[in-house]
């Protein structure tokens, strides 16, 4: 029942507003009626008070009129006077009858006097009628006696009318005094009542208006937030069961849908960005490869010329019996061929080791016993696939930078071994080593610091620096933690490459 009423009265914004307006109007109207009612009652009482006074005055006038007409008849026997007398007596008699009918005999002095007056009028009229009757019967003694009695009773009536008037005056004065005091208090109470009703109406209007407009404000603010791209704006909560709740729910759903859609767009954009990054990486790698290839091509003319020349020299050396020279040249030729032919493919670790061995042969001829290159290779990882020209640049660096200034015996050790599913390639020399600052700088270098590469390529076989090696490994394996350097100035340097083990067809 309560739910039904609540729904009928407050279900929907329109009903809420209609109910509010009707309630405030009704409350004000009721208060007004209630406040006016005592005034109307008071006026009614005042009317009755004056009515009593007027009634008593009329009674006296009737009495005087009867007396006058009777006296006139008794003295003149005029028929008109008799008619007038009858008219007045009828009026007076009716009033007496009304007084008796309307009066219950009670204990208050006013009531008793009122009743007495009614009965005295009867007595008076009895004597006046007797006087008229005796006048007609021409018995002067009797009608004079009756008139005298009537006159005395009329005096009694007037006396009681005056007394009743005094009672009324006293009653009314007392009544008015009491009433006036209470009316003042009633007016004060009603003033408080009116003020409270007005304030209550204002409060209800403010409250309901606030309740109605608050969801609109919330919606407006949230719409503004969303327009600014803030989809994390707080949920709009409407507790009332009306159109605003429907709007708020719809708005919240719309917000979530838009947010979801935007998130999807973001994800798509991220994916595209990642793809773009990947392409860029690939492009960069291709650029690096192209650069290396270019460098190789730049020197490609020379290899062809050199290969032919070196073949001629090798044949010449063989014919002249210079076998060591022939082997030296053969190694050089193989080394150059490897460099040129492997730029666009992967190689096995075995091939890379073999190429480094050829490189060693060249150095052995050049430096004799002053420089030695040792291998410590775990056979199990020799089939692993790696980018070409990875170990050779490191060995070359060890020869040039590590042992370049060393006058005693220089030792370079290449170690290849599996470590926890990965392959550790280390190149150690006992050369000059490097300070900590240099070590850190090498470890922190950017991928494509070609300037340094150019500087360092002087004296190198391939012109490929350590940065190139590291960057190619990172791109090849997709990992960054590739290289570490251990070095002590004056004692030597170890460069360690740690790469994932990958075994696949050499492309």
């Amino acid at each position: 029942m309560i739910k039904f009423l609540r729904n009928r009265l407050f279900g929907g914004v329109r009903r809420q507003m209609v109910t509010l307006f009707l309630f405030t109007v009704l409350l004000t109207a009721l208060t007004g009626v209630y406040v006016i009612n005592p005034s109307m009652q008071f006026i009614k009482q005042m009317d009755e008070m004056f009515f009593d006074t007027v009634f008593l005055d009329e009674l006296t006038e009737n009495l005087n009129a009867v007396d006058l007409s009777l006296k006139e008849y008794l003295t003149t026997r005029d028929s008109d006077s008799l008619l007038t007398y009858y008219e007045h007596t009828e009026t007076l008699s009716n009033k007496a009858a009304a007084m008796k009918d309307g009066v219950e005999l009670n204990q208050t002095p006013s009531e008793l006097i009122y009743k007495d007056i009614a009965h005295m009028i009867d007595t008076y009229l009895y004597h006046t009628d007797e006087a008229v009757k005796n006048k007609r019967g021409r018995t002067p003694d009797l009608y004079i006696s009756d008139y005298t009695s009537a006159y005395e009773v009329a005096g009694y009536i007037k006396l009681y009318i005056n007394k009743l008037g005094q009672y009324h005056l006293a009653d009314n004065t007392r009544w008015y005094t009491t009433l006036s005091n209470n009316i003042s208090k009633l007016i004060a109470s009603n003033f408080i009542l009116m003020a409270a009703v007005i304030l209550l109406n204002v409060l209800m209007i403010l409250y309901i208006t606030y309740n109605i407009t608050r969801p609109i404000e919330d919606l407006s603010k949230a719409a503004g937030d969303i327009a600014r791209g803030d989809f994390d704006t707080k949920e709009i909560v409407v507790t009332t069961d009306d159109e605003f709740k429907v709007m708020a729910d719809a708005f919240n759903k719309m917000k979530h849908s838009i947010k979801e859609y935007v998130d999807q767009l973001h994800d798509k954009a991220d994916t595209e960005a990642r793809l773009m990054d990947q392409r860029m990486q690939n492009l960069r790698m291709q650029t690096l490869l192209n650069g290396a290839e270019l460098k190789a091509l730049q020197s490609q003319i020379n290899p062809h010329f050199l290969f032919n020349t070196l073949n001629a020299v090798m044949q010449l050396a063989t014919m002249e019996g210079a076998d060591r020279t022939s082997v030296f040249i053969d190694n050089l030729a193989r080394l150059l061929r490897y460099n040129v032919s492997t730029m666009n493919r992967t190689v096995s670790l075995r091939e890379e080791i073999a190429m480094v061995s050829a490189y060693q042969e060249l150095f052995n001829v050049r430096f004799g016993d002053m420089r030695s290159l040792d291998f410590e290779v775990d056979e199990s990882v020799l089939d692993a696939v790696i980018p070409p020209l990875i170990i050779q640049p490191l060995v070359e660096n060890a020869y040039i930078h590590g042992l370049g200034e060393v006058e005693g015996k220089g030792i370079i050790r290449v170690r290849v071994r599996p470590v926890g599913g990965r392959i550790e390639i280390s190149v150690t020399d006992n050369g000059v080593g490097m300070d900590e600052q240099t070590r850190k700088r090498l470890l922190a270098q950017d991928y494509y610091n070609e300037q340094h590469e150019h500087i360092r390529q002087k004296g190198h076989l391939t012109g490929i620096g350590i940065d190139n090696v590291v960057n190619r490994l990172r791109m090849f394996y997709g990992v960054t933690d590739i290289m570490d350097i251990h070095s002590t100035p004056g004692q030597g340097t170890t460069v360690i490459l740690t790469i994932p083990y990958r075994e696949e067809d050499v492309s």
């Binding site: 009670n106 007495d116 009965h119 009694y156 009544w175 109470s189």
Partner: protein, 339 residues
């Protein structure tokens, strides 16, 4: 914000309810003050309508009498209109009220007959017009009227005995009588005086030295007491026949420094603190209590019996009480109760 609304709403609701309650309270007060629409209010129609005509109406005796009569009227479904005539000497107004009673066609009249003769014609007039008439104070001569009150002769005898108790068997007595009581040199007394004289005769050594009339109903008989003390130095007992005279006589004795020499015996006092003090100091020895409340009550009851045709003796004696310091505690009343 919601909390503020809540508290303001509660506050306003409290003010509103307070305003409504106050307003309704004062409105109900005003409505109680309003006269009923039918004038006069008709709660019930009484069976009988009597008129009580009292002279000296402001004295305590008649106030108590009226109270008894009013309560009897309420108990016995009778309307009683009271015509209080302040002066005991206003005979004309008393007579007028009796005439008006006839003209008003009421059922009966109770009147304080001052003596047997003063209102005789008026009482006859009432009886002739079939009104039930009851006299109190003094029994009327009309055989169709009724009387309720103390036996005046017995009252006089009791008073005399009390005086003898107060001043001894050789008491020299002065009597201060109500001036409405008819007497002539002590030879033609009212019943009260007659009874008093008769009883005193039993004590040969006791004498009634003088009988004085009250000069003022309002202030009592101080001047009369003064004249007695001056003119009759041997007086050692004063008997006063009204309460006002009794109090005035006691105060005059104190003023004259005659306490212990003269003792007062009074009538119809109330056991108020001042009376108690006088009795304790033996200025007033005691007083005769005529039970005016009972007389008033029985007067209305008698008229009701007459109207209903029940047997009603024409003479009804109401017992009187003798109050002295030995029993005054039993008679203490609230004087303000008899407005």
């Amino acid at each position: 914000m919601k909390g503020i609304y809540k508290y303001i709403f509660i506050g306003l609701a409290v003010i509103l309810i307070s305003g409504v309650v106050m307003s309704m309270y004062y409105y109900s007060r005003i409505k109680m003050d309003y006269k009923a629409e039918d004038f006069p209010p008709g709660a019930s129609n009484k069976k009988y309508h009597f008129s009580l005509i009292l002279n000296n109406s402001e004295s305590l005796y008649w106030r108590q009498f009226r109270q008894g009569a009013m309560e009897a009227a309420a108990d016995l479904d009778a309307a009683l209109e009271v015509h209080g005539i302040e002066s005991a000497d206003d005979l004309e107004t008393t007579k007028l009220q009796m005439r008006i009673a006839v003209a008003s066609q009421i059922d009966g009249v109770i009147v304080n007959a001052l003596d047997e003769d003063t209102y005789q014609d008026d009482i006859d007039y009432l009886v002739d017009h079939d009104l039930a008439v009851l006299t109190t104070g003094v029994e009327a001569r009309n055989s169709d009227s009724y009387y309720v009150g103390t036996n005046a002769f017995a009252y006089g005898q009791e008073a005399a005995r009390l005086v003898i108790q107060s001043a001894g068997e050789d008491a020299q007595i002065a009597i201060i009588a109500d001036d409405t009581i008819s007497y002539q040199d002590g030879s033609q007394d009212t019943s009260k005086i007659g009874g008093f004289f008769k009883e005193i005769k039993a004590y040969p050594n006791a004498n009634i030295v003088t009988i004085k009339k009250t000069s003022s109903h309002l202030l009592g008989a101080e001047d009369v007491v003064q004249s007695i003390l001056d003119g009759f130095p041997g007086v050692n007992a004063i008997f006063c026949m009204t309460p006002e005279d009794t109090m005035a006589a006691a105060q005059a004795i104190i003023d004259r420094n005659r306490v212990g020499e003269i003792v007062v015996t009074g009538t119809d006092l109330t056991a108020s603190p001042s009376v108690e003090k006088y009795i304790e100091k033996n200025i007033i020895y005691g007083y005769i209590e005529r039970n005016p409340y009972d007389i008033g009550y029985q007067s209305v009851a008698t008229l009701c019996n007459v109207m209903e045709g029940k047997f009603q003796p024409a003479y009804e004696d109401i017992d009187m009480d003798i109050v002295t310091k030995y029993n005054i505690d039993q008679y203490k009343i609230d004087e303000d109760a008899y407005d």
